[in-house]
């Protein structure tokens, strides 16, 4: 916001605004973050919409979540009924609840695309390592938040999913069992578990919100990466507002079209029917599956015959992301210029989807074998292919700037 005004007569509003900005520069802060004062490369493609979208979905989740919390009862004998009351008797409760439940799925879809964007265009490389780390932490907290949220309606999958996942900690030698008892607040998943999960499910989204601030702060130090992965000079940058704000608004429109189609015409498509049966500690479902967004990791867990090693592999499969900036030895960021790496990257994406399928099946026969092969490829990709391809591959020539001729060849 420029303060020099050619006319000497400033309006009272203008003066009040400047008075306030001099004391707390709130508008300038926003303007610096996502406004006219944040220069962004002019060649960002639509994959760069997903960060803004993730922030949008977070706000959507908090808003619908707070309204749900006004009507939800975190007690094992009342939780399921209170959710049904929301669905039937609370005005537009069905809409809020379906928006929240499907919002979680779409949050993960958006964040997965956001992460793969970073992986493809090498956005984790220097000088953006800390930005990448904060992103992974956000993802971990999101997983915890969604896991605990799924327990709240207290259906059969809520209960048994919670039992299976919390039990994983019992694999830790010596202190495993005490940790599980501590998590549960007792000797099984029960009312105390539900209570603490509700408290944490309310808290963690705000932790994510704070982490998003750090994430954006870390982004603003080096500025945005771009599809070419090269350093961009000021001549090739445009102000975030209005160029990327309007592009993001358009992106939100497209996103909401897809999201609302599911909310209004297939609200239970991504959920498990068993969660419409109230939790029963005496009846174990024949096939306990977590929500779809955990399935690849669930497959990795079950691919390994030893429980402790399985748990280590599962957590390792996410934690490995922290060291990706150093596992990738290539000096080139964008996979557009890396003909060999690119092939293995797409194979990695397909591998992840196949792992998801394996996670949804009973761990026997074909799904188990495929799951093991895919688990192997998962780790091979990070620990072998990433460093080795980085050394061996001859990247295509990089353009000197966004406008240079090499650009056309690479696109």
């Amino acid at each position: 916001m420029s303060t020099d005004n050619s006319s000497t007569e400033k309006s009272v509003w203008r003066r009040a605004f400047e008075w306030h900005e001099a004391r707390l520069p709130l508008v300038s802060f926003i303007d610096n973050a996502v406004g006219t004062k944040y220069p962004a490369p002019r060649n960002l493609n639509y994959f760069w919409n997903f960060g803004f979208l993730a922030g949008f979905v977070l706000v959507l989740m908090i808003m619908t979540g707070v309204v749900l919390a006004m009507n939800y009862i975190p007690h094992k004998d009342m939780a399921f009924d209170s959710v049904e009351r929301i669905m039937r008797d609370v005005n537009y409760g069905w809409l809020i609840r379906y928006m929240h439940a499907n919002g979680a799925s779409f949050f993960f879809i958006v964040v997965y695309i956001h992460i793969f964007r970073g992986l493809y265009y090498g956005s984790y490389k220097a000088p953006r390592e800390v930005l990448w780390w904060i992103g992974i932490i956000i993802y971990l907290v999101m997983m915890a938040t969604a896991f605990m949220g799924y327990v709240l309606p207290w259906g059969q999958m809520s209960f048994w999913g919670a039992t299976v996942i919390t039990n994983l900690f019992s694999a830790i030698p010596l202190i495993g069992e005490p940790i599980v008892t501590f998590l549960w607040g007792g000797f099984s998943v029960d009312n105390p578990t539900l209570n603490r999960f509700f408290a944490l499910h309310y808290l963690l989204p705000f932790v994510i919100f704070a982490l998003v601030f750090l994430h954006v702060w870390a982004l603003h130090i080096p500025g945005s990466n771009n599809p070419l992965g090269i350093e961009v000079g000021p001549a090739d940058k445009i102000p975030f507002h209005p160029y990327y704000t309007i592009k993001d608004v358009f992106g939100i429109g497209v996103f909401l079209l897809v999201y609302f189609a599911v909310v209004f015409w297939g609200p239970n498509m991504l959920g498990d029917p068993l969660n419409y049966v109230v939790a029963n500690p005496l009846v174990t479902p024949p096939h306990i599956v977590p929500e779809w967004y955990y399935l690849p990791f669930y497959a990795i867990l079950r691919a390994i015959p030893d429980k402790l090693l399985g748990v280590i592999a599962m957590f390792g499969s996410i934690l490995v992301l922290f060291v990706v900036p150093w596992l990738d030895t290539s000096r080139v960021r964008s996979a557009n210029f890396r003909p060999v790496y690119r092939v293995f990257f797409w194979l990695f994406i397909i591998n992840g989807m196949v792992l998801g399928w394996c996670g949804s099946q009973l761990p026997e026969g074909l799904p188990l074998i495929v799951g093991r092969i895919c688990t192997l490829y998962y780790f091979l990709f990070f620990f072998v292919l990433m460093p080795v391809i980085g050394w061996m591959e001859t990247p295509k020539p990089l353009p000197a700037s966004i406008g240079s001729p090499a650009l056309k060849a690479a696109e």
Binding site: V249, V258, P286
Partner: protein, 255 residues
């Protein structure tokens, strides 16, 4: 534009992939035509009324419907007087002014009663099995209403070599219980006499009660579809405007 399509396709691919993950089913359940399916799907009021009659006359002796209150029956097209009269056919425990146990007539705010005093009693009367509450059943099983319809009509002679336990019936859709179900065949031709004169074939009765149970599980379905249409219309206009505005603003860069 190419990139918008790419990004949108990526979103869709991920969404449809995640949906297909759950599509795996053990027995093939044929898809049926329901008035409530599709973009504009609505319930058929008369069908729901017939379904209510089937529930009341056949299923209610074993199955509760605990999330449905009599007042909710307004959605089936009944007026207040009819609902009051319907509720008054049931009795609920009460305490009189002297403090002794008594009974009172049902009110529109009451919920459908449980036919059994407790779970043990229910199991004892049903060969050890528990007849589940039916208010959410249509959402609580893979295949939803299609499954319900085929389950309640899926009774036949067991395949050669299969021995069905005492008191159990063979049902080719009951995969969760190894095809042996503790509920005997409930629906036969003319088991009910419809108030509206519709011919009560097995198929008709099964369809009507299934539609009714789907309404019981998802009473807000019509509101969902109609709200959805309005929201989508708004979002289409919004998105188009945003797209053209985006093009216009970005055109400044070409100058």
């Amino acid at each position: 534009m190419k990139k918008i399509i790419l990004a949108a396709a990526a979103t869709l691919a991920l969404a449809s992939f995640t949906a297909s993950v759950f599509a795996a089913e053990e027995v093939h359940i044929p898809k049926e035509q329901w008035s409530f399916n599709g973009t504009f799907g609505k319930f058929d009021r008369l069908q729901l009324q017939r379904g209510l009659q089937v529930y009341k006359e056949i299923c209610a002796s074993c199955h509760s419907l605990k999330y449905v209150a009599f007042r909710n029956l307004a959605a089936l097209g009944y007026n207040e007087a009819q609902i009051k009269a319907f509720a008054a056919e049931y009795e609920y425990p009460d305490i009189d002014d002297e403090g002794s146990d008594t009974k009172r007539k049902g009110l529109p705010s009451d919920y459908f009663p449980n036919p059994y005093p407790n779970e043990k009693f229910a199991r004892a009367s049903s060969n050890g099995a528990l007849p589940p509450d039916l208010s959410l059943i249509s959402k609580a099983r893979e295949g939803g209403p299609d499954y319900l319809f085929h389950l309640i009509t899926g009774y036949e002679d067991p395949p050669a070599g299969m021995t069905v336990m005492d008191g159990m019936s063979y049902n080719k859709y009951f995969s969760s219980g190894n095809f042996q179900i503790a509920m005997v065949k409930q629906i036969e031709d003319d088991k009910v006499t419809y108030a509206d004169g519709t011919k009560a074939t097995t198929d008709q009765i099964a369809r009507d009660v299934t539609a009714f149970l789907h309404w019981a599980a998802e009473p807000m379905l019509e509101a969902r579809h109609s709200t959805g249409l309005r929201v989508m219309l708004y979002m289409i206009v919004f998105t188009l405007l945003a797209y053209f505005l985006k093009r216009r603003i970005w055109a400044r860069l070409d100058k």
